[in-house]
Every structure is written in C-alpha cells, then in structure tokens.
C-alpha cells in the first residue's frame, strides 16, 4: 500500500466531465508533477484533493486512512473536512497571502489558531514563544528572514510565493500541493521559487504534488509525472517514461509545443 493513493477520481461541472477516473500512487517523500494543457483539470484535481471541490466519485487514502470517499463526501460536516484537509497543504498560483498581515504574521496566524484550538481541547500545544521560533525557522527555509516584517504589497511576486510556501508548511501537512506556483511570476523570479521547492524535496523530504508548466523543472525534480488530457484518466509514469519513451501522440504533441515555445 502506497503512502498516498488517489483512485478513480471523477469530477464534472454541469455537463462537462473534467476528471475521468484519474488516479496515482505516491510514496512518502516522493514528488509527482502534473502536466497537461490548460483546461484539462489540473487545478480541479488539486482542489479535489484539498477538499475545495467535492468529487463525484473516487477515493483518496493517506497512510492507510480513507480521507475522501466520493460516495460520502457530500454529507460531511465542515469540522470533519477541516481535520482531514490538514493532511494537505496547497500553494496557489496567485499566492493568496493575507494582505493585512506581515510575512511573519501570515505564517503565524494559522499556526496560532491551531495551537489555540489544541490548548482548548486540552492537547499539548506550543507556547507563543515556540510558535514564533517555528515561524522564524519556516521563514529561514524559504530565505526570507530579513523580510519578515514586510507586508505582501511590499514583497516581489517571488517573495510572496515563498512566504505562501512557508505558510503552507506551517501546519506540517503530509502532502504539499502546488498549483502552477510560478505562473503568475515574471520569468526572472521563477528561479527563486523553484529553488525553494527543490530544497524542500532535498532537505525536508516533503511529499509534493506540483502542477507546473516548467518542463525542465518537472523532469528533474519528479519521481513521477501525471499527464492529464481531456476525456481520459491521464497517463502516469517516470519522467523518463513520459518525456522520452511515451508514444502517446497527445503527450508528444504537448511536449513538442512546449519545446518549441522554449526555443522561440
């Protein structure tokens, strides 16, 4: 049994079927990249895994625990979903930092609320000093200690996204998801964000699912690649299998478009 098992996810919006039985396995510490043309359901898949959308059917199992079951997911209470979604973190394309909080407090807020809730339940919880230490160490991991007191509007896009990554890690999710983390950035800023993500894999051994259009990056960092295409369950394999050996014409066409774009 794999660490994370996503099975047979079906999702449609009205009459259009977006996800058609998508599934994959991921081991602890592995990285999966999801590629595919725009509109093929990459964001939708991440949103389903993070409980931001309900699925029509399918299951998600983490560490043997059934977290999502299409059959029963619609009836679940908010508090149950809230607990389950803590297994996952999500970094958005548009960062979605909270504008009225500094970089430091953006990271601190969810942590503080969580610890307060734990304390209320009589569970062991961090003191305020411990929380601050934790936030500092998270900022250090993304190289932004010096910017801790700046507000999002005072940070570059790349810096904002790095804060968002630190914030997503604050609650120690088992799986960290990224939805095109560099698509909203100027080209010269993508490098710093990709570097941070690479370090999370190498130093922290974090299990990650990354939707990206950065093909070189995906090829280098990923243990597995999932190619999503319209009306199918998609194709999954190692970077080598997908980028070099696949004879799926859709994948060839998709990759060709990308390599052309790179050389233009």
């Amino acid at each position: 049994m794999a660490f994370l098992e996503v099975r047979e996810i079906y999702k449609s919006f009205g009459k259009s079927n977006i996800l058609n039985g998508v599934g994959f396995d991921l081991e602890n510490g592995e990285v999966l990249s999801i590629i595919g043309s725009s509109g093929n359901g990459k964001t939708t898949l991440l949103r389903c895994i993070n409980f931001l959308e309900t699925v029509d059917s399918g299951t998600v199992t983490l560490n043997g625990e059934l977290l999502l079951d299409g059959e029963s997911s619609k009836k679940e209470k908010e508090s149950e979903i809230r607990e389950k979604r803590l297994h996952f973190g999500l970094v958005f394309q548009q960062f979605n930092l909270f504008p009225q909080y500094t970089a430091f407090n953006n990271i601190k807020l969810p942590l503080e609320l969580m610890e307060k809730e734990r304390a209320k339940k009589g569970l062991k919880s961090l003191t305020d000093g411990d929380i601050d230490k934790e936030v500092h160490s998270l900022l250090k991991k993304v190289g932004l200690e010096a910017k801790k007191d700046l507000y999002p509007c005072q940070l570059s896009g790349g810096q904002q996204q790095r804060v968002a990554i630190a914030r997503a890690m604050a609650l120690k999710p088992d799986v960290l998801c990224f939805d095109e983390p560099t698509s909203a950035l100027d080209p010269e800023l993508t490098g710093e964000v990709l570097k941070v993500i690479r370090e999370l894999k190498e130093k922290e051994k974090i299990t990650m699912i990354i939707v990206t259009h950065e093909m070189e990056f995906a090829k280098n960092i990923s243990d597995k690649i999932l190619f999503l295409s319209r009306g199918t369950a998609g194709e999954i394999g190692t970077p080598k299998q997908l980028f070099e050996e696949s004879d799926n014409p859709e994948i060839r066409k998709f990759l060709k478009t990308y390599s052309e774009e790179q050389t233009i």
Partner: protein, 229 residues
C-alpha cells in the same frame, strides 16, 4: 432672550438630540446592517429573498415616510405606544422622548438597509482565494471571516460608508417631522418668531460636525493604508 448666547444654548440643546440620533444610529445600524448583509447573502433562499425585499422597500421609500410609519402606525393598529423614559435622570428622560425613540428606530432600520448593501458589496468583492487560503490552512469559517476578511472589507467600504455617514448627519434633521426637538426644530422655532440668522447658524453646526466626521473617517482610511486589497 434673543441674545447670541441664549440662541446658541437653544441650538445646542437641539444639537444634543441630533448627536444622540447620529451616534446611536451608527452604533446599532452598523452591526444590524452586517447581519442583514449575511441574511441577504444566505444560501437559504427564502431568507435571502425576504431580506432583499426588505432592503428594497427601505431604500426605495422616503425615510420621512418610514419615520411616520414607525411613530404612528403601531399605535393606530395595535395600540402600541413608544415607551416613556422614567430613569429619574432628567436630562436623559427629556432627550429620550417617545418621539426621539421612534425616530431613532426608523433611522436604525433605514440606515442598516443602506449599510447592508455596502457590506454586501464589500464582502463579495473579496477574492475567493482569500477564503480558500484560509480553508486549506485549517481555519474555521468564523476565523476566516473575522481574522482575514473583515478588515479587508472595512478598508474597501470606508469610502461608500463615509458618504452615508455624512448623509446621516444631515438626515437627523428629518426627525423634525415628528417634532423631535433636534437642531432644525429649534432653528425653525426661532424662524417662526421672525429670527432669520439662527437657521444659518444651525447650518454651521452641521458643517462643522460634518467636517469633524470627515477628518475622522479620513484618519481611519489613512490608518489602513499600510496594506492593499
């Protein structure tokens, strides 16, 4: 009897009621408007439709009409009379006449309707991403609203709210129609006695007070300048 000093006292006396109307309307209409905004955004259709109709009526009919209705209709239909204050504290009992209380209720309901629309616009203008970020960080709906959304909404709605608040300063004079002894009532009384200048003097009261309100709101706006939404 018609010295500058005594007339100033007369007008100040009326102005007290105007101020009471102004501040108490804000105090109650601001939270009531927020609750009404939540109702009109409710997923429970009957509630949201009902609230939208209420807001439509309150904004679509004259405030003066609403003051009349609230002051007279409960008495005529149900024999309900607005309570007379007996606190023994004379100033309080005089200011809070049944008339002022009825006018106050009308102001609160009317302004809550306007505020609710401003809140609704403000809340709906906040990007979905802010809620989603809160959700994936395990925050409760309540925490998301109070710790993340609300301040952004406040920043967004200060300009339209300022307009309403300035209008309210002037609208307090409408209480005059049920003979609440507010500022215009006093000035009008003097006018009927042949004294013209106090009506302009009353205008100065409104102007100065609106000046103070404007400066205060500008200060609040500046206070929230440190972030962008």
């Amino acid at each position: 009897m018609t010295t500058f000093g005594s007339i100033t006292l007369n007008l100040l006396n009326g102005f007290t009621s105007s101020l009471v109307l102004f501040f108490l309307t804000l105090l109650f209409a601001l939270p009531l408007g927020l609750m009404m905004a939540f109702c009109s955004m409710s997923k429970f259709k009957p509630l949201s439709i009902l609230m939208k109709i209420i807001v439509w009526v309150l904004r679509g009919t004259p405030l003066m009409l609403q003051i009349f209705v609230i002051f007279y209709v409960p008495g005529i239909l149900f024999g309900f009379t607005w309570p007379i204050m007996h606190t023994g504290w004379e100033w309080f009992d005089t200011v809070f006449s049944t008339r002022l209380i009825a006018a106050l209720v009308a102001f609160i309901i009317n302004y809550a309707a306007y505020f609710s629309e401003i809140y609704r616009g403000g809340i709906q203008s906040i990007s979905k991403g802010q809620y989603e970020a809160g959700h994936v960080l395990g925050m409760t709906k309540r925490d998301i609203f109070f710790k993340v959304i609300l301040l952004q909404v406040i920043k967004r709605i200060i300009p339209p709210m300022s307009n309403e608040v300035i209008t309210l300063v002037k609208d307090t004079s409408l209480a005059n129609v049920i003979a609440v002894t507010e500022l215009m009532y006093e000035a009008h009384l003097l006018l009927t006695k042949g004294l013209i200048w106090p009506i302009f003097y009353a205008g100065v009261f409104y102007l100065v007070f609106n000046g103070v309100v404007t400066v205060g709101l500008g200060y609040l706006e500046k206070k929230l300048d440190y972030f962008k939404v």
